[in-house]
């Protein structure tokens, strides 16, 4: 599971949905890998306003990844400024770092834990399993 996807999921239990502690899910015993993805700074620009930056910071911290800036980068941080109009704007290092973090950093094996109910969702071969047993549905 990519870190971008992790930013859009919470505990699947209906009982947990209203609790703020059901998001983000916390990785445990996570084994990370980098999966190459198409670099698309415009897609990042589309996603930036939809991200929960604070949750992303928590995840980065828990996975011992480099510390993020304290607030969401602005769209203008993704492209080099200058060169009015002539050539299309070049993506910045910020864009490349974000791409690597959100789209390429993958939890290959491990668990995602809800800190509201303690339920653990397993990730195997990069595929997270959010199915629930009947007593939790």
């Amino acid at each position: 599971m990519k870190l971008l996807t992790l930013n859009f999921v919470s505990c699947a239990r209906k009982a947990c949905k209203s609790s703020t502690s059901s998001f983000p899910l916390h990785p445990r015993d996570a084994e990370l890998e980098l999966v190459e993805m198409e670099f698309n700074p415009q897609f990042l620009q589309n996603m930036l306003p939809k991200l929960e930056w604070e949750a992303l910071q928590i995840i980065c911290n828990e996975l011992a990844l480099p510390t993020l800036p304290s607030s969401t980068p602005a769209a203008s941080d993704l492209f080099e400024s200058g060169g009015e109009g002539s050539s299309p704007a070049q993506p910045t290092q910020v864009a490349r770092d974000l791409h690597k973090l959100l789209l390429e950093t993958t939890i290959r094996e491990g668990l995602l834990v809800c800190s509201n109910c303690g339920h653990e969702y397993a990730i195997k071969e990069g595929i997270a399993n959010f199915l629930l047993p009947p007593h939790l549905v």
């Binding site: 599971m1 990519k2 971008l4 996807t5 859009f8 999921v9 919470s10 505990c11 699947a12 239990r13 209906k14 949905k17 998001f23 899910l25 190459e36 993805m37 198409e38 698309n40 415009q42 897609f43 620009q45 589309n46 996603m47 939809k50 789209l103 653990e120 969702y121 071969e125 990069g126 595929i127 997270a128 399993n129 959010f130 199915l131 629930l132 047993p133 009947p134 007593h135 939790l136 549905v137």
Partner: protein
Amino acid sequence: MEYLIRSAQQHEDFREAEIKALATLHGFDVEILSYSNESPYCVVRLPSDDAAKLLIERSILACAIYRLWGQGSDYDSLHEDLRSRTESEWSKYKVSSFWFQIKTFQSKRSATARQDIVESFSYLPFDGPITPQNPDVEFCVCEYFDKGTLTPKQIYMGRLIGNSCRDVINVYDLKKRSYISTTSMDAELALVTANLALAGPNKLMYDPFVGTAGFPIACAHFGCIVLGSDIDGRCIRGKGEKDVLSNFRQYGIAGRWLDGFTADLTNTPLRKRRFLDAIVCDPPYGVREGLKVLGSKRGPVEEVYIDGKSAYKQADYVPPKKQYSFTAMLRDILQFGADTLVDNGRVVLWMPTANDADVELPFPQNPYLELVSVSVQEFNKWSRRLLVYRRLPSVEVDAAAISAYNHQAGHTADELNDFRRKYFQGFKS
């Protein structure tokens, strides 16, 4: 300005919806001036040649678009119309190399008859060379015949603006795809579905019944970053070398497959947050694949223990699933769309119906979504419809509709699967 679109005479009911969707995708208006499911020729009004080119480039069901030079019910009226529309433009092509194509629908023309048709345009003052390969300008005469007749009923003449990308259907042909299942959507309709979803670069698309990822592949072809889930994780994981990812690799678009995960839409882990640009799905009808959701058919149950340990924590645990109503599932999909789509984001879903009018299922509705188009694919005794909805920006949502919708919420949740019952009764009334 008026343009002639020449389409394939296939999946007719989807063509108009596709043209309109592509205009919406590129942000310009299209006005359909004449269209019929019985004819491959359609006349539209578009702002410019550039718009026409953009429109056709992404089209799957159209073949080509032409600037309309003239039309008529016979050659005399065609020539007269052509003269009045374009005489001022003729000089532009005086020295250009050019070529004439002739397309007939429901009839044939011999080589000499074709020659005669081309020569009837000899009053055009074109002095350039006649070159079939890469001419500067290409004209097309399109004839429509009623079946079994020898004189055309309607004739169009136009200057070629651009061709469609119909040939990508071959690239994505299921016969050549390494990993498919019994219910995979054929490549042509999957690509059309992606067009109706306004798939495009920089967008995030999600399929909650991903299967072998037919729709995500079609959307990724157009540049989308795609996400899929299924209640049956085995289909995403695949077998051996063949899995969803290997399909993406086959087409060189693996860099657009964001994630696959195992989940049930009625207990989705995705948050109620407006982050998706499109939701595309072909939900299980309950015929070839069961329509099930998480839970026990015995109703609420206690936790199960095996040898004093929670059963669900065992490695090989498979959670039980129960039957679910198709009507309720459609309702859940639309509500999920209302919760997660951005403004003007689209839900595109397939829904089966019996051809018999009195067993027709009503279209599912949601106050936050507006039905944009309905296209029908007919089979012998049943048909399926492709429903396209647009997420209304919050200011456009009708408050009265929301309260009416919430009021009737309790009723339909446990309805039986009407379609499944009728299907197995052989659609006898």
